[in-house]
C-alpha cells in the first residue's frame, strides 16, 4: 500500500459519510474512487436514479480524499458546483479527480462521475477547497 493510499483510507475511515456512501479508493493510484450502490442512495423510487445530492456528495468526498492523499492534512470545501449531464442508474459510480490548481491555502479540483463501466458520464463537479 502506498503512503498516498494509506492517507486516503485513513481519511475515509475517519469520515462517517464515506461509510454511508460505500466510498472506496481505487488501488491503482489513478485518482479513482468508487461509490458502492445502496438503496438509500435512490432519490425518487419512481425513477430509481441516484439522488443528485448523493452524487454531489460522492464527488466532493472524492476531491477531499484526493487532497488528503496528497497532503495528509485537512481540506474544507469552500464551494462546489455540479452539472448533471445524464440521468443516473441504480448502480455504483466511479469518480476520477483532476487537480486544476493548488496553492498554499486554496486548491481547485474537478471530478467526473461515471456509470456503466465508465462509458456513461453522469456528472461533473468542480470544487474549491481551503487547505490546512
Amino acid at each position: 500500500m502506498t503512503a498516498r493510499l494509506d492517507r486516503i483510507r485513513s481519511f475515509a475511515a475517519a469520515t462517517p459519510l464515506a461509510g454511508w456512501l460505500g466510498f472506496q479508493a481505487d488501488e491503482s493510484g489513478d485518482a479513482a474512487y468508487r461509490l458502492t450502490f445502496q438503496e438509500a442512495h435512490i432519490g425518487n423510487p419512481a425513477i430509481r436514479a441516484l439522488h443528485g445530492g448523493v452524487i454531489a456528495s460522492f464527488l466532493e468526498l472524492a476531491m477531499q480524499a484526493e487532497l488528503a492523499g496528497e497532503t495528509g492534512g485537512p481540506a474544507s470545501t469552500i464551494s462546489l458546483s455540479i452539472d448533471y449531464l445524464s440521468s443516473s442508474r441504480p448502480e455504483g459510480m466511479t469518480a476520477h479527480v483532476r487537480r486544476l490548481k493548488a496553492g498554499r491555502r486554496i486548491a481547485f479540483l474537478e471530478a467526473e462521475g461515471r456509470q456503466a463501466d465508465g462509458t456513461r458520464l453522469v456528472a461533473v463537479a468542480r470544487g474549491c477547497f481551503k487547505l490546512g
Binding site: T15, L17, N44, I47, G52, I78
Partner: protein
C-alpha cells in the same frame, strides 16, 4: 405540507402530490426518514423545511459533512420547483452550486429555505439557504437550475 403550512395558492393537484410525497418521505424513504423532515412553510414557489443532522453524515472533524448540505439543498429546491408549477411534471436537476459557510454538529436541527425565482422555457431557477435552527447561523447558500418536463415518469422528481 400539512394544511397549516401549505399556502392555498398552490395548484390543488400539486398540493396533493406534495402531501403524498411528505408521507412517503417521512415514513418509507430510508434517506429522508433519518432526516426527520418537518415542513415550516409551503407556498407557491417557496419551501421551508426543518430537518435533523444525523451522525451518519459527519465529516472527519466531527461536524456534519457538507455533502449533506448539498443533499438537502437539492431536495428542498426540487420541492420549491414543484410548488411553482401549474401542473404535475417530472423535473431533474441540471446544475447546483453550494457555498459552504458554517458548521453544525450532528444531532442538531437545521432549516432550509428555498425559493423558485422563475420558470422560463422549461427551466426553473432556484436559490436558497441552510441555517442552524437553534441559532440562525448560516451554514450554506445555494443556487440551482432544474429541467421541467423531463422524459421521466410523472412524479419523476430528483428527490
Amino acid at each position: 405540507m400539512t394544511s397549516g403550512v401549505t399556502s392555498s395558492d398552490i395548484n390543488p393537484a400539486i398540493g396533493g402530490m406534495l402531501r403524498s410525497a411528505r408521507d412517503f418521505l417521512a415514513h418509507e424513504h430510508s434517506l429522508f426518514r433519518t432526516l426527520d423532515l418537518k415542513p415550516i412553510l409551503i407556498g407557491k414557489g417557496k419551501a421551508t423545511f426543518s430537518m435533523l443532522m444525523p451522525a451518519d453524515f459527519a465529516a472527519a472533524d466531527g461536524s456534519v459533512h457538507g455533502g449533506l448540505y448539498t443533499i438537502i439543498l437539492d431536495s428542498i429546491f426540487g420541492l420549491a420547483v414543484f410548488t411553482a408549477l401549474e401542473e404535475i411534471k417530472p423535473i431533474a436537476t441540471i446544475n447546483l452550486r453550494t457555498d459552504f459557510v458554517g458548521l453544525i454538529a450532528p444531532g442538531a436541527r437545521a432549516v432550509c429555505e428555498a425559493e423558485c425565482e422563475a420558470v422560463n422555457s422549461d427551466v426553473a431557477h432556484v436559490s436558497g439557504r441552510l441555517f442552524a435552527e437553534a441559532t440562525g447561523d448560516l451554514l450554506a447558500t445555494g443556487t440551482g437550475a432544474f429541467m421541467v418536463g423531463t422524459k421521466g415518469p410523472i412524479g419523476g422528481m430528483r428527490l
